[in-house]
């Protein structure tokens, strides 16, 4: 119950190139875990493993265990579409469906998976999702506007609402703020802190100040290896590994 995802000896390769090496860590339920590290350390590859986003990448393979809901999502027969409903993803570039309205952007997942029939049910979920994404007040009178007409920060919160609409257990976020200005970044960060009480969130970031601000736990990756994972306060006041210390104090990387 404590852990939402348990990862054991996860390794991954793009062709001959090994990008993740024997990663073992647990992701605590209903908390925010940041994955931090310099470019090329494998952090994005890592979170994309968690909902099988690499399935269609030629030459990609992974080994080890990623236990979610009691099943190893690497080897067991799992429908990636169903998996991604439970393990949602928000990307670096906000990617709302440009021509769809705000409303339809949030409702699209519900319509695809056919879990809701009536317009009223859908409208209720859309409102709830937009509220959770802290954007309802801004958009409630503009639900028919196209997704592409919003600002970058609004688009990103719309994407978070879209991910929340299908009731995921885990939300993966790959550099969710790096395309946004500081004000939008602050809004997304506050949203992540708030959602962290109800969802398991894994955020990839190369911005360690952001990792410090928003997360309960931090995992530090370096060249495909998990160097250290601990509570944020521990990592940023007294890390156990010298390499973590050097990275967070700006002595390398």
């Amino acid at each position: 119950m404590e852990n939402a995802i348990a990862i054991n000896h996860l390794s991954a390769w793009f062709g001959e190139n090994q990008v993740l090496n024997e990663i073992t860590m647990d992701i605590r339920r209903n908390s925010v875990t940041s994955v931090m590290g310099p470019s090329g350390c494998g952090k994005s590859t890592f979170i994309r493993c968690l909902n099988r986003m690499h399935d269609l990448t030629p030459g990609f393979r992974m080994a080890g265990e990623i236990l979610f809901d009691g099943r190893n999502i690497i080897t067991d027969r799992i429908d990636p579409v169903l998996l991604r409903r439970k393990v949602g993803m928000v990307f670096q570039q906000p990617n709302p469906f440009p021509r769809m309205s705000v409303f339809d952007n949030v409702a699209v997942g519900l319509r695809f998976n056919g879990s809701m029939k009536s317009r009223a049910d859908i409208a209720e979920v859309v409102e709830r999702s937009l509220r959770m994404a802290a954007i309802w007040d801004e958009l409630k009178d503009h639900l028919d506007r196209p997704g592409s007409s919003l600002s970058g920060g609004q688009q990103q919160r719309l994407c978070i609402a879209r991910a929340l609409a299908v009731k995921p257990e885990v939300l993966l976020m790959d550099e969710p703020c790096s395309a946004l200005d500081p004000v939008s970044t602050a809004k997304i960060e506050e949203l992540i802190e708030d959602l962290g009480d109800r969802y398991t969130i894994v955020v990839v970031t190369h911005n360690m100040q952001q990792a410090a601000r928003i997360s309960d736990f931090v995992a530090f990756f370096l060249m495909g290896v998990l160097v250290e994972m601990d509570k944020s306060a521990k990592i940023f006041t007294n890390p156990s590994d010298k390499r973590t210390e050097e990275y967070i104090t700006g002595r390398f990387g």
Partner: protein, 216 residues
């Protein structure tokens, strides 16, 4: 600023205040036990010190975590560092109150050298200073902090007065030396408490104005 960060700042302030209230009560009760000759009060003060020690550690841990995780700047940075420094002063005040308790234990076992007049006055001013310092911290009241610092001279003068008076007792009757020395030390502890209250006021001024008024 996120809601959580702002809650953390409020929480830190409340912890400092709780600790300040304890330090104030400890000082008051320790002197009261001595003046009213009520030994049973002493245990109460010792019990409060454990709470103060707990808060001493917790406040530093929380403040350190906030510096590491929130990267505070400007007002927030000065507030958090002030909280850490005030934390140290309050813990020292708690220690001084315990020192008074220890002297009181000895003094309550023997007859008084003389009725206590200046020591309760010193305690009154020191407590007032501490209370005003904490109010200034909460309200960011620089004027009040400056006024409070000025009261420190009165406490220093009373300490000298206590010393001169007890000196005459000791010269007249050597059997009063031990008891008189204990009382002189109590006045010394109270004077130190007023000094810590002064430090707190100086930290408040730095917190609000960014101006360092120490050693002036």
């Amino acid at each position: 600023m996120t809601k959580r960060y702002s809650k953390e700042l409020t929480n830190l302030k409340e912890m400092v205040l709780r600790m300040g209230g304890l330090a104030e009560t400890m000082t008051h009760r320790a002197v009261q036990a001595l003046v009213d000759r009520k030994r049973e009060i002493l245990a109460e003060v010792v019990e409060m010190e454990q709470q103060v020690d707990r808060l001493h550690i917790d406040i530093d841990e929380i403040a350190l975590g906030m510096i590491a995780l929130r990267q505070p700047t400007a007002t927030d940075l000065r507030f958090i560092t002030a909280a850490m420094k005030i934390n140290t002063d309050l813990e020292r005040i708690g220690d001084q109150a315990i020192n008074i308790v220890e002297k009181a234990e000895e003094l309550l076992a023997v007859p008084m050298v003389k009725p206590l007049i200046d020591i309760p006055r010193m305690a009154g001013i020191a407590e007032e200073m501490l209370k005003a310092a904490l109010d200034a911290f909460v309200q960011g009241d620089v004027e009040s902090a400056y006024r409070t610092i000025e009261k420190d001279d009165a406490v220093d003068q009373l300490k000298d007065q206590v010393f001169r008076e007890l000196l005459t007792f000791m010269m007249a009757d050597a059997s009063t030396i031990a008891r008189s020395m204990d009382l002189i030390l109590v006045s010394r502890h109270l004077e130190r408490i007023a000094d810590h209250a002064t430090n707190i006021c100086e930290d408040v001024i730095f917190m609000v104005k960014g101006k360092d008024v120490r050693h002036q």
